[in-house]
């Protein structure tokens, strides 16, 4: 079937028929920019990479997304492990090791803004630079809460989230966050793709403001974060 992700049309070939439901909301009839399929070895590699058992269809989905993110390096893009929300036309990303409370923090934003807020992708958005602007895109791969919407939003900030005994947000020097950014990006193993990706990450660090966000698990954390991101 043909889907549109990150402003690219792709023909997706998969062996598990029930996967077509997974892509609903992303179908397109436009001509494909490229074609994607995964081999049984690539599916097996996804199973081997995880400590917990996953089904054949999950393995196929993981392999497909890895492949798409690799191809994206040729289109100034990559996969960022983060939650992205859209509010008042601005996109904000929150990155953290899993289990830190990122989803809980996003819930405080949802409570604060109600219908004025959209979660673009709760876990694994695609990021792409178009005419110098970095956009975050909704995709069907989005984490267990299933927060996603087929849309894009300019990314106005990336917050590295950490649990703290007080709420604070501070703008970070990009140089201090290079290693942390790398830890949140799905890196290709192929040297050609890596050579394309690294200058994209370099520009990302120059263009998108980085923040250190310390949060208690309380609703005020969203107020502090919002004010800091808007410079209030």
């Amino acid at each position: 079937m043909r889907i549109r992700l990150a402003d690219l049309n792709m023909e997706i070939n998969f062996s598990t028929p029930e996967l077509s439901l997974f892509f609903s909301g992303y179908e397109t009839a436009a001509p494909a920019d490229f074609e994607i399929s995964v081999t049984s070895e690539e599916r097996k590699a996804e199973v081997d990479a995880l400590l917990i058992p996953i089904s054949e269809s999950e393995a196929e989905l993981n392999a497909l997304y890895r492949k798409i993110s690799g191809i994206l390096s040729a289109y100034d893009g990559f996969l960022l492990h983060a939650a992205v929300i859209a509010v008042e036309g601005h996109g904000y990303a929150f990155a953290a090791p899993s289990g830190t409370g990122k989803s809980t923090h996003v819930r405080y934003w949802m409570q604060k803004f109600g219908d004025a807020l959209t979660v673009v992708n709760g876990d694994k958005p695609l990021i792409r630079a178009i005419d110098g602007v970095f956009y975050a895109y909704g995709t069907p791969w989005c984490g267990k809460e299933n927060w996603q919407k087929n849309m894009r939003i300019p990314l106005n900030g990336l917050c590295f989230f950490e649990r703290s005994d007080r709420n604070f947000i501070e703008k970070a020097e990009p140089a201090n966050f290079v290693s942390r950014l790398f830890s949140q990006v799905l890196l290709p193993s192929d040297s050609e793709k890596m050579a394309l990706l690294l200058p994209v990450l370099d520009r990302f660090l120059q263009v998108v403001p980085m923040y250190r966000l310390g949060c208690t698990l309380s609703p005020e954390a969203a107020d502090i974060a919002y004010n800091g991101l808007r410079g209030i």
């Binding site: 290079v178 290693s179 790398f182 890196l187 193993s189 192929d190 040297s191 890596m194």
Partner: protein, 87 residues
Amino acid sequence: MKIKKDFMLRTVGGQQMVVPLGETSKKLHGVIHLNEVGAFLWKLLERDCTEEGLISAVVSEYDVSAEVARTDIEAFLNSLREASILE
């Protein structure tokens, strides 16, 4: 001495970053952050260089004595060996 082919050094965000590639990327997760001298040595080792060659290159490039350079370079080479980065 030479660095294995499975690494790429680039400046990202003003920092000297080394990323693993291919089979190495499956074993070594994460990236290596080098300082200026580390990146200088890394580039020499990408092409192949002896320890004596590294010492004389550092002494001519930076304001440092051969004795100090030797100590620091040996420590740097040891950490590369421990991480199986050298061929």
